[in-house]
């Protein structure tokens, strides 16, 4: 098991890597849009781990997705937890529910799918940045 400092760095690197690939090209297919949601969520999830490690929350208290959300709620507030949960739900839909694209609100309209989901990813990226900036400042101070 890595030390906390190592974990902060490693999770940051992984998170940035995932977030960098969470893009929706102009001609993105349904699968590419779904992938982008998934990568954005995992980028956010790993930066949350990094941030929690920075704040000395042990790994044992943040094993699953729900536990990470709970710890973020305790450390940052319910609004942060709710935003993380919103993006988690979207990722669950993108990864597991085929009807996400063919039913409300998209009804297989790929341009609409790209338009709405890319905006949600932009919100996830802004959330990501708020954690990443703190983590980077912390690492630079060491």
């Amino acid at each position: 098991m890595p030390t906390s400092f190592e974990e902060i760095e490693e999770r940051l690197r992984l998170a940035e890597g995932f977030m960098a690939t969470a893009v929706i090209p102009p001609n993105a297919t349904e699968g590419e849009v779904r992938n982008a949601v998934s990568r954005a969520y995992y980028g956010l999830m790993h930066i949350c781990h990094s941030w929690l490690a920075m704040n000395n929350v042990p790994q044992g208290r943040r094993r699953g997705h729900g536990e990470v959300q709970e710890e973020i709620g305790k450390q940052c507030g319910e609004e942060f937890k709710a935003r993380l949960r919103d993006i988690y739900r979207l990722r669950e839909d993108a990864d597991y529910r085929p009807q996400m694209f063919t039913s409300r609100p998209y009804f297989a309209d790929i341009a609409k799918f790209r338009a709405v989901v890319s905006t949600r990813i932009a919100s996830a990226r802004a959330e990501f940045d708020s954690y990443a900036n703190e983590v980077k400042q912390f690492l630079e101070s060491k």
């Binding site: 929706i24 102009p26 993105a28 609004e79 709710a82 935003r83 919103d86 739900r89 979207l90 669950e92 839909d93 996400m100 039913s103 409300r104 609100p105 998209y106 009804f107 309209d109 341009a111 609409k112 790209r114 338009a115 709405v116 989901v117 890319s118 905006t119 949600r120 932009a122 919100s123 802004a126």
Partner: protein, 303 residues
Amino acid sequence: MTTTELEKIINDRLGAAGLLPLLDRTRSQLLGFPEGVFVELVLTDASKLRQVENTLNQIRTELAQEGTQIDSIVRALWRVKSVEYQGPARAPTGEPKLALAFRAVLESGQQACEVVVELHVLALNELRKKMGKASKVGSFSWSEIDDVDRGTLESVAAQFLTLQLLAGGTSYWDPIRFGHQELNEPAMMYLLARTAAFRALETLINDTLDPDPRNLLLQEFLTSLSNARIKIRDFEYAISCLPAVFGGPYGPGQELMTSPSGAYAKLDGKEKELIKAHFLQRVTQLEQSLPALKDKFPMVFAR
């Protein structure tokens, strides 16, 4: 526990608290999954969100003790009240961004909130191409002179917000929680591909013909067609019976839709053909998904 049983519990509790009239039944939904029930409650007044969330949390706690898991979204219907250009967008650090900032006011019942829309320069370039401002494509700045006019920019930002506010389910946008929206290239390309009237009519058709047996809009539409003795495939007549649930996010002066027929009248010839083809395709899908409807409404589905 079935979704019907859970729906009754929720309705009873909201009714007892005087909150049931605020529930938009056409947009709310309950979906059963192996791991539990997903509940989406949509309110017409955001000032009551907390009360409804608290009620639902009580139900969730009680049912969890019995082994039923509930995941829920409680959201409100918002409309765009105003949009105003603010100037070049800036990061929290004060550094300029490659985007223009707009301040928008949204309303939902007794509550209002402010959000910021950032129109990214790549999205602005798409708009410039469409508006015949090719000489400005690639420019990182915007000015009142010889570029896309301010009114058009504000209108596009309002249409963008409308698009975001119409998305429900796991794709919903909570403007209180996420007060910042980025109008990027994919969103602009979607907005420029069709008129606002087309998008509004398409959304109404999709929602109405959504093959869900609990779809109240569908029941209302078919009953209306039956009463008027109109066949569903007689498109020009049938759309006059679509439920007039326009409104919601549409603000004053922003392509206000008062009726499906009114929206249809705004379309050009090509979009009229497209929307008709879309409608007929959705009717065919509806017949395949819910064949019992043909027995219940034989005249409506007669060829």
